[in-house]
């Protein structure tokens, strides 16, 4: 093991190197570019024995990865923002064909207005694409998830492509000290890819990405959905095995901080969690019963674990660095649906922030908790018309310059 001071993108590249993909199909886009730069350097210096394909677009980046995966080889690609949307049609294509491709996505705003900085509008677009989606908090988790991603995606019970999301710039370009495991350690955890089903091979020639009409199509999709939901147990097992071997884990699909007795809980994804941890700690020290829930996976969605963790809270706040225009933050929608399914009755606030790289400061997160604590006092009856007279009242735009 080595300890090095690297950026989030460097950590991704180190993780990919250790995972030994057969082929890397690469196309640059800010703020992902450093990943494909580093990987080209690793291939050049011989520390990574991969074929490096300079594809001419993101569309071809994923298409080429699909070709690689179709013969049972390990594929990696990376993208961001407009690039993710440009390759969009290939995402459900790869997941329907059950190809365990791993892709890093640097979360970045979508045009227009043009903006290269971080938010989650890009990956939220792809929630329905059939890819597993994890959101990491820091560079260490980014590196570790590149290794876990292949192990989960290639599990015969899962066989689903995997998207590792890093907040653009805030995480991709921020330097941290990271433990880099040795190749031997990673090899012991992540064996070479071994796909026997669903691939083209000389031993058992197959037709892939076939047509299934209205007589068969629905069954394929149902199976895909059921197996994605069942992948929750594989994700938990892989994370536990990772912790056992490397001494650090991520508690499966979500992590809770002081949620057991919390009256209010803030739900975060990605790097905002790091800031929220500090604020939550301060408020606890002041005697306020506040908790924090780091939601790591959005697909599969950890409905049970989430509602269990939130069950004692009276007010829940959901942080969204995205908007589904004409509605609300997308994670908010998902959390509400989960709570509703469990018959929960918390008041739920939506904090929309960080769009186009807008700062989300400690003060902003403090303000979120304050709002929730105010609602705690007024939320004796969540059905009280005075509490939430309009649905919009549940949406709070944070750190904005326009009057609302």
């Amino acid at each position: 093991m080595a300890r090095r001071f690297v950026s989030g993108n460097d950590a991704v590249a180190e993780g990919v190197r250790l995972a030994r993909p057969h082929v890397i199909s690469a196309y640059p886009i800010t703020p992902q570019t450093i990943v494909v730069e580093r990987l080209s350097e690793f291939v050049e210096d011989g520390s990574l024995q991969s074929i490096y394909m300079h594809v001419e677009s993101e569309h071809s980046a994923l298409a080429a990865a699909m070709g690689v995966s179709s013969v049972g080889a390990r594929a990696f690609t990376a993208t961001s923002s407009q690039g993710l949307l440009y390759m969009a049609e290939n995402l459900p294509y790869a997941s329907g064909a059950r190809m365990p491709i791993v892709m890093m996505n640097a979360n970045r705003a979508l045009a227009t207005p043009w903006n290269i900085y971080g938010d989650q509008m890009d990956s939220m677009f792809m929630l329905n694409s059939g890819w597993i989606q994890v959101y990491v908090e820091d560079a260490q988790e980014a590196l570790d998830m590149m290794i876990q991603a292949y192990k989960i995606a290639e599990d015969p019970k899962v066989l689903t492509p995997f998207m590792v999301n890093l907040d653009g710039f805030v995480l991709t370009h921020t330097y941290e000290v990271v433990d880099i495991p040795t190749q031997e350690e990673v090899d012991a955890f992540l064996p070479p890819i071994n796909l026997s089903e669903n691939i083209m091979s000389m031993e058992a020639p197959k037709s892939l990405c076939i047509t299934a009409g209205n007589n068969y199509n629905m069954e394929f999709k149902i199976k895909q959905n059921e197996e994605m939901i069942e992948s929750i147990s594989v994700i938990e097992q892989v994370d536990a095995a990772f912790e056992k071997q490397f001494g650090r884990g991520y508690n499966g699909l979500l992590e809770t901080v002081d949620c057991e007795d919390a009256d209010v809980i803030l739900v975060t994804t990605g790097s905002i969690t790091g800031t929220a941890r500090m604020v939550q700690k301060t408020l606890r020290a002041e005697g306020k019963k506040v908790g924090l829930l780091k939601l790591r996976y959005l697909r599969p969605f950890p409905t049970k674990a989430l509602t269990e963790a939130l069950k004692n809270a009276k007010v829940v706040g959901v942080v969204d660095k995205n908007i589904s225009f004409g509605y609300e933050g997308t994670i908010f929608t998902n959390v509400n649906s989960a709570l509703m399914q469990e018959g929960a009755s918390q008041k739920v606030d939506n904090f929309i922030c960080g769009l186009g790289g807008r700062d989300v400061t400690k003060e902003n997160i403090h303000e979120m908790y304050e709002k929730m604590l105010v609602h705690l006092e007024t939320s004796a009856d969540v059905n009280d018309a005075n509490v939430a007279s309009k649905p919009q009242d549940r949406i709070h735009y944070m750190n904005v310059r326009c009057a609302l």
């Binding site: 057969h22 082929v23 199909s25 991969s50 074929i51 394909m53 300079h54 594809v55 001419e56 677009s57 569309h59 071809s60 980046a61 298409a63 080429a64 990865a65 699909m66 070709g67 690689v68 995966s69 179709s70 013969v71 049972g72 080889a73 594929a75 049609e89 290939n90 294509y93 083209m200 091979s201 000389m202 020639p205 197959k206 037709s207 892939l208 990405c209 076939i210 047509t211 299934a212 009409g213 068969y216």
Partner: protein, 297 residues
């Protein structure tokens, strides 16, 4: 290189049981290519007639490995297959793309260009039936001038398609591709020889084969071969190769058969007026003047 003829061509079928129309030129081009390429072939097919008729669950028409690719992605998927096979050490295989005219000259051009630029070890076939036939006969970049399609109607104001065929062969050659050729299902020995040649090329190969479509061209199914031959004989199509940086015209007729005879056999050209046929001839003559000047040693 041994000539491939009907006599020595294998009887083994690697592409059969598909649901293509009677007289389909494209399925013939794929079938013969597969016979020559053999069973260690990995075929990538984008959206189009050939993928639509041969992968209908649970009936698969390829006996070899085959995959339907996204429409724009023939070149990229075939390149990925080749890279994956190379990385896994699976040798003596062919990664092949079979795309249509729209899948090649329009939506798939970028991915094809990328593959040629990288010199990927693939053989790319453009099976050209001169329109989007699978979706019901719409104009593509390879639809000839004066063609009536469902998106280029012929009427009082328009002669059908108003543009000439995109020059795919020279676009591909301009990449300095290792090997490129044009062919026609009317000259099958020439076509098969070119497929055979592509097998031993190091780098990317491109074979552009004209393949009549009775449904889209408004012809009876039994004239597919003779019509594909006549397309070359009247000079609206040509047989050529690009190899080692040089163009070569494989067939240089002293005299062309009349364009009028060729077009009048086809429903898609029935409306053409004499002046429009003259326009086709003028474009043909200009093209041949250039080819004869530059491509004949």
């Amino acid at each position: 290189m041994e000539r491939i003829t009907a006599r020595n061509l294998t009887n083994e079928e690697l592409f059969y049981g598909h649901k293509a129309c009677g007289g389909c030129g494209e399925s013939l081009a794929v079938r013969l290519a597969m016979k020559i390429l053999g069973e260690r072939t990995f075929a990538s097919l984008p959206a189009g007639c050939m993928s639509a008729v041969s992968f209908i669950y649970p009936n698969m028409a390829f006996r070899t490995n085959a995959i339907i690719t996204p429409f724009a992605s023939t070149g990229a998927v075939a390149a990925g297959v080749a890279a994956g096979l190379q990385a896994l050490g699976i040798k003596d295989t062919y990664s092949v793309g079979f795309a249509g005219d729209g899948g090649t000259a329009d939506i798939g051009l970028q991915a094809l260009s990328g593959a040629i630029d990288r010199g990927d070890q693939i053989i790319y076939f453009c099976n050209d039936n001169e329109a989007y036939m699978n979706t019901g006969i719409q104009k593509s970049g390879l639809t000839p001038f004066g063609t009536k399609t469902t998106t280029s109607p012929a009427g009082a104001n328009l002669p059908g398609s108003t543009t000439m065929k995109k020059n795919m062969f020279e676009i591909v050659a301009a990449h300095d591709i290792a090997y490129a050729a044009t062919a026609s299902v009317g000259y099958l020995e020439d076509y098969m020889m070119k497929v055979e040649k592509a097998k031993s090329v190091k780098g990317t190969s491109y074979i552009h084969v004209l393949a009549p479509c009775p449904t889209g061209w408004g012809t009876t199914s039994e004239i597919t071969i003779s019509l594909a031959k006549e397309a070359v004989d009247c000079g609206l199509w040509y047989l050529a190769e690009y190899e080692d940086g040089e163009f070569k015209l494989n067939k240089n007729p002293k005299e062309f058969t009349p364009v009028e005879n060729y077009v009048k056999k086809q429903g898609r050209f029935k409306h053409l007026k004499d002046a429009e046929i003259k326009q086709l001839e003028a474009a043909r003559d200009k093209k041949w003047e250039k080819m004869r000047r530059n491509w004949v040693k």
